[in-house]
């Protein structure tokens, strides 16, 4: 089993859950520890119930895990909701002035902090969360100094007095915990590494910057808005134009306009906004303009649950836009992959002159993870494909934007290049761009042009590697997942291994092209296949079946808005191997 430590902080929105989260994340990452943080919250600015889990350890941490080692309830509600879920060895640090503990499960330690007595300046209200963090660091065997540094950084704008109030109160709480609470049996480890901490949204945005995006536009929509925020705050340094547009229809069309002019252009939204973009996506397919659209899935349908995760937009992506046209769809498998996938996608769509969709979800986009700085490569390979940006050396006479070629790819001239003027049209057109839809139609030319565009599909398939089965070939069970579930499935497989059950994993990163034949080949001989996905109808299972006729032996699905925890998958696999069911829908025990 992985050696990890998980802290959970709960309270109402606006009570200050985020700040201690940032403090922990920084302290862990600077200590050379990996971390993963997931915040369960609601669509409310003040109030509700927010529950942040930060899990850390020396090895890469990919999910929130099954166990909370330390809980910091900032209000009574959090204590009441979650105390019963804690297991043996866990501890609860709480403000004993305002919170009643209730009866803890066996082996759970209560660590009451008399906050009002520990405050350096009774008139100034030192946040209880800072004191709790200080106490916890003492119990974890972490020196006080890193916290002191962070508090100085956090409060220096408010003046020396505030810095002193906070650092002194924190120091008192730290000492109080040292005097009164048993430390955790294993002090928090330390390594020589130094990690960056970022969200999936930041990774997607930075991946765009790395890919050479020069135009980014969006309409704010949870849980994709973080991409816009990063882009907007770094636009001037990075030389990226960022626009907030009146709606998502405007967004996709503006991005396509910028792409047509020759920029790498990107936009991000969630399912509802993507629905508005679909006509534009078809335009990119028809006029053969490369553009990258990020869809960050949230729980649908319709407005759904804006702050909850789901993998429910797959069929929307597959069918977005009417008519047939080539597209690429990638599903990044973790937060660092959100960064890496963007330059890959741009190279692909620039080469094949079609729209590309990066299909993430809230779990990735708002989750925090540690990353080795070397993983964030701002100099990835760039391939802009057959792009004509100057008239030099090009036989200008008779330029045909949609020249018939074997690959289906026609050299693309950007506006401003002499001798290459042409009109691109969403109407069907001939090689030179002239319409064959209005004054006259022509079934032969229509067929030729459709086939030209669709020929690109074979090239796209060849340009992307097929997925690979990871783990022993003869495993008892094969778990098939896509996108963000990679880490949690991987950990479930480790846990199954601890129980003597061998499992392997096939994780899908490219949804289109799917490489159906390769998948079927890899699954040939699999003893028991189970598809794991975060939706109700088994969207990937249905897609895989439609493309390959492959039918899995069982399914694990979750559609309550919360992500899988490793034990959900472990228990479901055991049930299914025992023949109890073919469809498991794990219950989410944490009420958030």
């Amino acid at each position: 089993m992985k050696r990890t430590f998980a802290v959970a902080i709960g309270g109402a929105a606006g009570q200050g859950v985020a700040t201690p989260g940032v403090i922990y994340a920084r302290i862990f990452a600077r200590r050379g520890l990996h971390l993963y943080a997931y915040n369960a919250y609601q669509s409310i600015i003040r109030g509700g119930h927010t529950f942040l889990t930060i899990r850390t350890g020396p090895d890469r941490v990919t999910n929130q895990g099954d166990r909370i080692d330390l809980m910091i309830p900032l209000n009574q509600d959090t204590m009441d909701r979650h105390l019963g879920l804690l297991g043996e060895g866990a501890a609860v640090i709480y403000n004993s002035d305002s919170i009643q503990p209730g009866t803890p499960p066996p082996g759970v330690r209560l660590c009451p902090l008399p906050v009002s007595q520990l405050q350096h300046n009774a008139r100034a209200k030192q946040e209880q969360n800072t004191l709790a963090v200080a106490a916890s660091l003492s119990m974890l065997g972490v020196a006080f100094q890193p916290l002191e540094e962070m508090l100085i950084q956090q409060f220096k704008k408010k003046g020396d007095a505030v810095v002193k109030d906070n650092t002194e109160s924190a120091r008192t709480a730290y000492q109080y915990a040292t005097d009164h609470f048993e430390p955790f049996p294993n002090p928090l480890p330390m390594t020589d590494n130094k990690y960056a901490v970022l969200t999936g949204n930041m990774a997607l945005a930075m991946g765009g910057a790395a890919a050479g995006v020069k135009f980014y536009c969006a309409y704010p929509m949870s849980p994709s808005t973080g991409v816009l925020h990063w882009m907007a705050s770094h636009a001037r340094q990075a030389g990226i134009m960022v626009r907030q547009v009146e709606d998502e229809i405007g967004v996709i069309n503006m991005a396509i306009g910028a792409a047509q002019s020759g920029c790498r252009a990107m936009c991000a939204t969630s399912g509802g906004g993507f629905a508005l973009m679909t006509e534009g996506l078809g335009m990119a397919g028809m006029i053969e303009t490369p553009v990258v659209v990020i869809d960050v899935q949230r729980a649908g349908p319709s407005t759904g649950v804006p702050t909850k995760t789901e993998q429910g937009d797959l069929w929307q992506m597959l069918g977005a836009g009417h008519g047939d046209y080539p597209r690429a769809i990638a599903t990044p498998t973790d937060i660092v992959d959100c960064f890496k996938i963007i330059p890959e996608m741009f190279n692909l769509v620039d080469k094949f002159q079609c729209p590309g969709i990066v299909l993430g979800d809230l779990l990735l986009s708002e989750g925090h993870a540690s990353a080795d700085p070397s993983e964030l490569d701002f100099n990835p390979p760039i391939d802009r494909g057959e792009l004509i940006t100057s008239a030099n050396g090009n036989g200008a006479n008779g330029y045909k934007r949609y020249l018939f070629t074997e690959s289906g790819i026609s050299p693309r001239a950007i506006p401003g290049v002499k001798g290459h003027a042409h009109t691109v049209a969403t109407d069907e057109h001939m090689e030179d761009g002239v319409l064959i839809s209005d004054e006259f139609t022509n079934p032969i030319k229509r067929r030729q042009m459709m086939e030209k565009r669709q020929r690109k599909i074979a090239g796209i398939e060849a340009a992307v590697p097929p997925p690979e089965l990871v783990g022993p070939r003869d495993a008892e069970v094969t778990l098939i997942g896509w996108g963000s579930t990679q880490g949690v499935i991987q950990e479930a497989i480790e846990l199954l291994g601890d129980e003597g059950i061998t499992a392997n994993q096939l994780q899908i990163r490219w949804m289109v092209p799917l490489h159906g034949d390769a998948i079927v080949e890899q699954l040939r001989g699999a003893r028991h296949t189970i598809i794991v996905e975060n939706n109700h109808s088994g969207q990937f299972a249905r897609y895989l079946r439609s493309e390959t006729s492959f039918v899995a032996d069982g399914h694990i699905r979750k559609y309550d808005g919360e992500p899988f925890m490793p034990h959900h998958i472990v228990e479901a696999v055991k049930d299914q191997l025992a023949g109890k069911t073919k469809l498991s829908v794990p219950m989410h025990e944490i009420m958030v």
Binding site: A235, D247, I256, A258, I382
Partner: protein
């Protein structure tokens, strides 16, 4: 620096002629708009390859196919959004957007308002025929109250919008109304619109000879009256423009309603474009010292 070795060739009208002839109905007002646009571009001596003509969908939106500039024939109502992207990506280009009243004021109404608010430097030529032509004659956002069309066989009970007042309210910095039947006047307005640095809107009466039997050439000819002929009219006076925009009846004003030159256009206001030339032509990479900062702030 520009070289003087080769003198720039004079741009001729022939160079703006498209690959195919327009498929508009004989007598359509759009012919006049196309001709005026071509003449204006020639008079301004703009190279065809430095112009992008962008349209949505509708009869008039076929126009980009009939000029030999770069062109984009996009989606119904979306031309202004696409054009904003084109202009921001390469602000050296001259961008002309064409379309009809349904395209611009109906399905594209939201983009119309916001493109004006942003003061994007482009010319928007709305060929306003007060009818949906390509769909064979339904009521449009500028059809008069009571107009009988295929979708309002007993007369429309909805009143029209006033594109000029709307543009004044939304903050457009150049607002004019032209008439396809008056070439010289329209050509002059188009020239002014292209030369204006900022969003230029010209609502052009472009009669539909097939489906609109109310707003015909003779109907307009009897009514249009040039603002330029009124020496008391001051197009820098927004309130005066608002007042004139309300006149509609036996007399309908055409000409330049309003122009202001004190506001920055979007490309001027956007610091990313301050130096380095058009975005589309810049190198893709970001200097390493900057990307290092991006990572350092995460640590």
């Amino acid at each position: 620096m520009a070289t003087t070795e080769v003198a720039l060739k004079t741009v001729t009208l022939q160079e703006f002629k498209g690959k195919v002839d327009p498929d508009w109905c004989p007598g359509c007002g759009d012919f006049g708009v196309l001709a005026a646009l071509q003449k204006a571009l020639v008079e301004l001596q703009i190279q065809p390859y430095n112009v992008v003509t962008i349209s949505g969908i509708g009869c008039s939106s076929n126009l980009p196919g009939y000029v030999s500039t770069y062109g984009m024939h996009t989606l119904h109502g979306r031309a202004l959004a696409v054009a904003t992207g084109v202009k921001m990506a390469n602000h050296d280009l001259t961008v002309v957007v064409t379309g009809g009243d349904g395209d611009g004021f109906g399905i594209g109404g939201n983009h119309f308002i916001h493109t004006m608010r942003r003061n994007v430097d482009l010319l928007y030529l709305a060929m306003d025929n007060q009818i949906y032509g390509l769909t064979t004659g339904q009521v449009s956002p500028t059809s008069r109250l009571g107009m009988k069309t295929k979708s309002t066989p007993f007369g429309s009970v909805e009143g029209p919008i006033n594109p000029i007042s709307l543009a004044l309210a939304a903050g457009a910095t150049f607002i004019a109304r032209g008439f396809s039947g008056d070439q010289k006047h329209l050509t002059d307005l188009i020239k002014q619109g292209i030369e204006h640095k900022g969003f230029s809107f010209i609502d052009v009466f472009s009669p539909c000879v097939t489906y609109n039997h109310d707003n015909t050439y003779p109907w307009f000819k009897q009514r249009v009256k040039k603002l330029e002929d009124d020496k008391t009219y001051d197009p820098s006076n927004w309130l005066m423009a608002c007042e004139r925009s309300q006149i509609w009846g036996e007399e309908i004003p055409i000409g330049k309603f309003f122009e202001r030159t004190d506001l920055l256009s979007l490309d001027q206001a956007e610091p990313v474009l301050d130096s380095g030339g058009p975005l589309a032509l810049r190198e893709l990479g970001i200097p390493a010292e900057i990307t290092r900062e991006f990572v350092t702030e995460l640590m």
